[in-house]
């Protein structure tokens, strides 16, 4: 990649900087700014490729992106350095919040405020599916697969792991790329 690969220490500190900069949100925009524009560790194209891989593979996207950056330069050790860098401060803060929560959540005032916050957070959870729905809107097979997955989980109460292990291979079979490429439309 770059002329000289960043050291473990630099990888850790770089991701620490990303985590601190992104306190108001926009983690992937900040990592692009710091990794590509400020520190010149990789080209923008390489960064975008990283995002694609991070989204494709299991695991939280932003952490996968950190793993990708670290692994590219320093293998497993680099991945540990970048993951630790991006998680250290947010995780300690979250544990502190959790500590406060478990000490005080039984106070009526705290519980009442949380009741409201929880309703808003549930709305955020509800929006996740709708956010990506448009990508599949013109694909009846995709909508059918999504619908049976939803029914299996929500109505038949089948657990996630068997659902993924059964429907995943079926879906992969249906979407296996054919040798002759017809004009199959949108990606």
């Amino acid at each position: 990649m770059a002329a000289s690969s960043p050291s473990h220490r630099a990888l850790f500190l770089g991701m620490l900087q990303v985590a601190l900069s992104a306190f108001g949100g926009g983690l992937s925009a900040w990592s692009q700014r710091i990794v590509v524009e400020q520190r010149h560790w990789m080209s923008n194209e390489a960064f975008i490729t990283g995002l694609t891989v991070a989204r494709l593979f299991p695991g939280p996207n932003q952490i996968n992106m950190a793993v990708y950056i670290g692994a590219l330069f320093r293998g497993l050790g680099g991945a540990i350095a970048t993951t630790a860098g991006i998680l250290l401060i947010p995780f300690c803060l979250l544990m502190l919040l959790g500590y406060i929560y478990f000490n005080y959540h039984s106070l009526p005032a705290v519980d009442r405020i949380l009741t409201g916050i929880v309703a808003a957070a549930a709305g955020m959870a509800l929006s996740m599916g709708f956010k990506i729905l448009h990508e599949y809107w013109r694909d009846p097979i995709a909508l059918f697969l999504a619908a049976i997955t939803f029914i299996a989980l929500q109505i038949a109460h089948i657990q996630l792991i068997p659902v993924v292990l059964i429907f995943g291979p079926i879906a992969m079979f249906l979407y296996w790329p054919r040798n002759i490429k017809p004009s199959s439309g949108e990606s």
Binding site: A22, F23, G24, L27, G50, R55, F57, P58, G59, P60, N61, Q62, I63, Y68, G75, L76, I80, I86, P90, L94, G98, Y99, Y101, H105, R112, I113, L114, T115, G116, I117, V118, A119, A120, A121, A122, G123, M124, A125, S127, M128, G129, F130, K131, I132, D139, I141, A142, L143, T149, L153, Q154, Q159, L160, I161, G168, M172, F173, Y175, W176, P177
Partner: protein
């Protein structure tokens, strides 16, 4: 159950789930709820909703809710067990997916054009869509006990989709409604 037994239970649970976190990790929320509330009784239903909201409100990746679930599981055995179990839970859920991701990063140029990769990407998208809808419904059922709470959730969902307002404002506003007893559980 000793603190150590709980710790083993937590670590095994999250190690096992790691590779099933499709589409960025939130697909596991329903499973987290099922395991931590129904199966193992680490926390109560409303505590799960609270911890989800905390993880969403705090800066950093929202998938860190796993650390809070571990903290809740270990909490009855003392603060240090709680914190240790929380850290272990987070490491456990990240470890398998991190190892796979390291492999992916190094061998991407070979994987890129393989039909398996294309089928995986295209095929698992719709499955992820179905899971995310199911997760949304489950979180809402766990969180909301009152018709006004449902109304707030649906409104926030709508605003998330059609405006660019930071969700933190919705949380603050809904928190105020809760403080005044408008939303109850």
């Amino acid at each position: 159950m000793t603190g150590f037994d709980t710790w083993i239970q937590v670590v095994v649970t999250f190690l096992r789930l790691s590779l099933f976190s499709l589409g960025g990790g939130n697909t596991l929320l329903q499973e987290y709820h099922h395991l931590s509330v129904d199966t193992f009784s680490w926390i109560t239903n409303s505590q799960f909703a609270d911890l989800y909201a905390l993880a969403e409100a705090a800066p950093g990746p929202s998938s860190m809710i796993v650390g809070l679930l571990g903290l809740g599981a270990g909490w009855p055995h003392g603060v240090w067990w709680g914190l240790f179990t929380g850290l272990s839970a987070e490491v456990a859920v990240l470890l398998p997916s991190t190892l796979l991701m390291v492999f992916a990063a190094i061998s991407w140029s070979k994987l890129k054009d393989s039909p398996l990769r294309i089928a995986f990407e295209r095929g698992l998208g719709p499955i992820t869509l179905g899971i995310l809808f199911s997760v949304g419904v489950t979180v809402m059922r766990v969180a909301d006990q009152h018709w006004l709470a449902y109304l707030v959730s649906v409104l926030v969902c709508f605003l998330m989709l059609f405006t660019k307002i930071s969700p933190l404002y919705f949380m603050v506003f809904a928190g105020i409604l809760g403080a005044f007893g408008v939303i109850q559980r």
